[in-house]
C-alpha cells in the first residue's frame, strides 16, 4: 500500500485552476520529487497535502486514512513533517531549542505540569534534549547547538530545519524546495543529508527547482506544468522525455 495517495486533486483560486486533477502515489521508503516550472502548482499541491488549505476537489490519503479538513498541526501529529521554502527558524531560539520544539508532538507536558515542574516532566525534558542533540549530530551541526539559529549560515539553517522536522519522528517528510537559496556546494550537501534521511527509513516527498539535486537523489519524479501532471517516471526516463525537455528547454 502506498504511504501517500494523491487522487485527482484540484485547487481553484477564483478563475485560476492552480492544480488540475493531479494523481500520484508515494511508496514507503522512496524519495519522490515534484518538479515543474514556476507557477506549475507545486507549492499549492504541498499546501493541500499538509493541510494549510483544503483542496477544491480530490482526496489525500495518508497511511490509508483520508485527510479531510485536518489543520496542519493535526497532520503533523499524524506523522507528516514539513520544511519551508523560505526557512522559518524560530527567532530568539538556539539551534537546539528549535529542534527541541520539534519534539512537541512526541511529548505532552502542559501548562500546569510545566509551571509546577512535576517530577514526570523532568525525564521528558531530558529525553527531549538528548534526542534533539542526537538529531543535530546526525545532521552534522552539533557544534552549533547553542548558537542563535537565525545567525547561522543558510546551509546550516537548512540542516537545523531538517533536524527540527525529523524531531517529529515523521513517516513522511515534505520538503519545499530544500535547495532554495543555497550554492552548489550547499545543495550537494543537502542532497547527501536527504539520502541519509531516506536511509533511516523515512519517506521523502520534495518539491524542487534545482534539477541537479532532483536527478541525483530521487527515485521517482512527477512533472507538473500549469497545474497538470505531464509525466511521472524515474529520473533517467524523465531526462529523455520529449515533453519534459520541451517545457524545460523550450521548443525547437
Amino acid at each position: 500500500m502506498a504511504l501517500l495517495e494523491i487522487n485527482s486533486l484540484s485547487k481553484r483560486f477564483g478563475g485560476l485552476l492552480a492544480v488540475n486533477d493531479v494523481s500520484f502515489q508515494v511508496e514507503p521508503g522512496q524519495i519522490k520529487a515534484v518538479i515543474g516550472p514556476n507557477g506549475a502548482g507545486k507549492t499549492t499541491l504541498f499546501n493541500m497535502i499538509s493541510g494549510t488549505f483544503p483542496a477544491t476537489s480530490g482526496t489525500v490519503t495518508f497511511q490509508g486514512r483520508e485527510l479531510k479538513r485536518q489543520k496542519p498541526f493535526q497532520v503533523a501529529g499524524l506523522g507528516m513533517a514539513r520544511t519551508f521554502q523560505n526557512i522559518k527558524m524560530f527567532s530568539g531560539m538556539t539551534a537546539l531549542e528549535n529542534v527541541m520544539l520539534g519534539r512537541h508532538v512526541q511529548s505532552s507536558a502542559g501548562f500546569m505540569s510545566s509551571m509546577f515542574r512535576m517530577p514526570w516532566t523532568w525525564k521528558e525534558e531530558r529525553d527531549i534534549r538528548d534526542k534533539s542533540l542526537e538529531l543535530l549530530a546526525l545532521l552534522e551541526i552539533e557544534e552549533h547547538a547553542h548558537t542563535d539559529a537565525e545567525s547561522l549560515a543558510f546551509g546550516q539553517q537548512r540542516a537545523v530545519e531538517l533536524a527540527r522536522a525529523l524531531a517529529l519522528e515523521p513517516t513522511l517528510l515534505l520538503l519545499d524546495e530544500p535547495a532554495a537559496g543555497l550554492n552548489i556546494y550547499e545543495t550537494a550537501e543537502v542532497g547527501r543529508l536527504i539520502t541519509k534521511i531516506r536511509d533511516l527509513g523515512i519517506t521523502v516527498l520534495l518539491v524542487e527547482h534545482d534539477m541537479s539535486l532532483v536527478m541525483d537523489i530521487s527515485d521517482e519524479i512527477v512533472v507538473l506544468c500549469f497545474g497538470e501532471k505531464i509525466a511521472e517516471d524515474t529520473p533517467t526516463h524523465i531526462q529523455r522525455d520529449p515533453e519534459v525537455i520541451k517545457i524545460y528547454l523550450g521548443e525547437e
Partner: protein
C-alpha cells in the same frame, strides 16, 4: 530547582528592604512596595502573553478589575434581603458566607473572602476564554484594538452598575484572612506581614512563569511568536496555546486585583481604566518584552515611583512618554541597552584618546 535558586537573591533584597526601612524609620515605603508587588504580578503575567507568546492585550486592567470588583462586591454587599432564596441558602450550607454587623449595627450577611476571591478569579478566567476565542484569531493592530474594546466595556460596566458603586467604586472591603493570623488588609499593624504576603505571591508567580518559559510549553509559545506557520507545522495547536496563555495572564491579573483590593480596602473605576492597560503594556515594553526579570524590575520600580507620586499629575503622561521613548530608542527594553558595557567602552575610548594625545 534552578528557578527556585534564581529568585533567592531577590528574596534577600526583599528582606533587606524590610530591615533598611525599619532601621531608617521609613517603614511607610513598605505600603507602596506591597502595592507595587501586586501590580508587578499582573505585569509578569502580561509579559508572558506579550513577550513570549507575542499576543498584545490592551485590556488587562479589565481582568484586574474583574478580580478586584467581584471580590469587593461579594464581600461587602449585604445578602440579608435575599436570605430566603435558594442560592443564598446553598452558599450558606457550603460555608461560603459570613455574618456580622455593619457600621450601624444592622445584621450583615456577605460572601467570605475565600469564596469571593475564588469566584472572582474563576470569573476572570471564564471571561478570558469567552473573549479570547474570537479575539485571538486577530493579529497585531486588530488584536490590540479588540482587547482595547474589551477594556473599555469593563470600565463602562463598573461605572454604570450600582452594584459596583458607579463612580465611587467600592469601599469598606473587609480583610482577607488567608490563615488564622495572616490576613491581607491595610491595617497599620499588618503592614510588615502584608509586605511579605505580596512579595511571597510575586516570587511564587515568578518561579511558576520562569518554569513555564523553560519548558515544552514555553518553547511552543516562543515558536508561535517567531512563526505561527512553522509552529503549526511542528504540531503546535497554536490557537489553543494562545488562548491558554491569555487565560493564564488574565488569572494573574485577577489575582493581583483581588489581593490589592483587600489590601487597599476598596477599589475604584480608575483601576479599570484604559490608561491603566496602556501603562501595563508600557512597563512590559520597558522591561524588554520577552524578559520576565525586566518586567518584574520595571513593574516594581515604575509602580513604586508612580504610587509615591513622583510623577505628580503627569502620571499617565509619563507612561505615555515612556512608551514612545522605549519604542524609539530601545525597542528591546532598557536592559538590552547594556549600559554597563557601553559605559566601559566609553571610558576605554576616552582613555585611549587621552593616551593618543600624550
Amino acid at each position: 530547582m534552578k528557578k527556585l535558586l534564581s529568585v533567592l537573591p531577590l528574596l534577600a533584597v526583599v528582606i533587606g528592604i524590610h530591615f533598611l526601612t525599619s532601621a531608617t524609620d521609613t517603614m511607610y515605603y513598605l505600603t507602596q512596595m506591597t502595592m507595587s508587588a501586586y501590580y508587578a504580578l499582573l505585569i509578569i503575567g502580561l509579559c508572558v502573553l506579550m513577550g513570549y507568546a507575542g499576543q498584545i492585550s490592551l485590556g488587562h486592567a479589565g481582568f484586574f478589575a474583574i478580580g478586584g470588583y467581584l471580590s469587593a462586591a461579594l464581600t461587602t454587599r449585604n445578602l440579608i434581603p435575599f436570605q430566603d432564596t435558594a442560592l443564598v441558602g446553598l452558599l450558606d450550607s457550603a460555608g461560603m458566607l459570613l455574618s456580622g454587623q455593619d457600621l450601624y449595627g444592622e445584621a450583615l450577611l456577605v460572601v467570605s473572602p475565600w469564596a469571593a476571591s475564588l469566584v472572582a478569579v474563576s470569573a476572570a478566567a471564564v471571561i478570558a476564554v469567552i473573549i479570547g476565542i474570537p479575539v485571538l484569531k486577530l493579529k497585531g493592530h486588530y488584536l490590540a484594538m479588540a482587547t482595547l474594546g474589551f477594556g473599555i466595556i469593563i470600565y463602562r460596566v463598573v461605572l454604570a452598575l450600582e452594584y459596583f458603586g458607579e463612580a465611587d467604586g467600592i469601599s469598606e472591603v473587609p480583610a482577607f484572612v488567608l490563615f488564622s493570623g495572616l490576613s491581607v488588609s491595610g491595617n497599620f499593624s499588618d503592614r510588615v506581614q502584608n509586605y511579605y504576603i505580596a512579595w511571597g505571591l510575586l516570587l511564587l508567580g515568578m518561579v511558576l512563569l520562569l518554569n513555564l518559559i523553560d519548558s515544552r510549553v514555553g518553547r511552543a509559545l516562543r515558536g508561535i511568536h517567531g512563526s505561527d506557520e512553522a509552529a503549526d507545522a511542528m504540531g503546535v495547536n497554536t490557537s489553543r496555546f494562545k488562548l491558554q496563555t491569555f487565560v493564564l495572564s488574565a488569572v494573574f491579573a485577577a489575582i493581583a486585583g483581588v489581593f490589592l483590593t483587600h489590601y487597599n480596602g476598596g477599589i475604584g473605576p480608575s483601576e479599570a481604566g484604559v490608561m491603566k492597560s496602556v501603562r501595563y503594556v508600557a512597563i512590559v515594553a520597558v522591561g524588554g518584552m520577552a524578559h520576565l526579570w525586566g518586567a518584574l524590575l520595571m513593574g516594581v520600580v515604575l509602580n513604586f515611583l508612580s504610587l509615591r507620586g513622583v510623577f505628580g499629575s503627569y502620571d499617565d503622561a509619563v507612561f505615555g512618554l515612556i512608551l514612545i521613548v522605549i519604542m524609539l530608542f530601545a525597542p528591546n527594553g532598557i536592559l538590552s541597552l547594556n549600559l554597563r558595557h557601553r559605559l566601559k567602552r566609553y571610558l576605554r575610548q576616552r582613555k585611549e584618546d587621552r593616551e593618543g594625545e600624550a
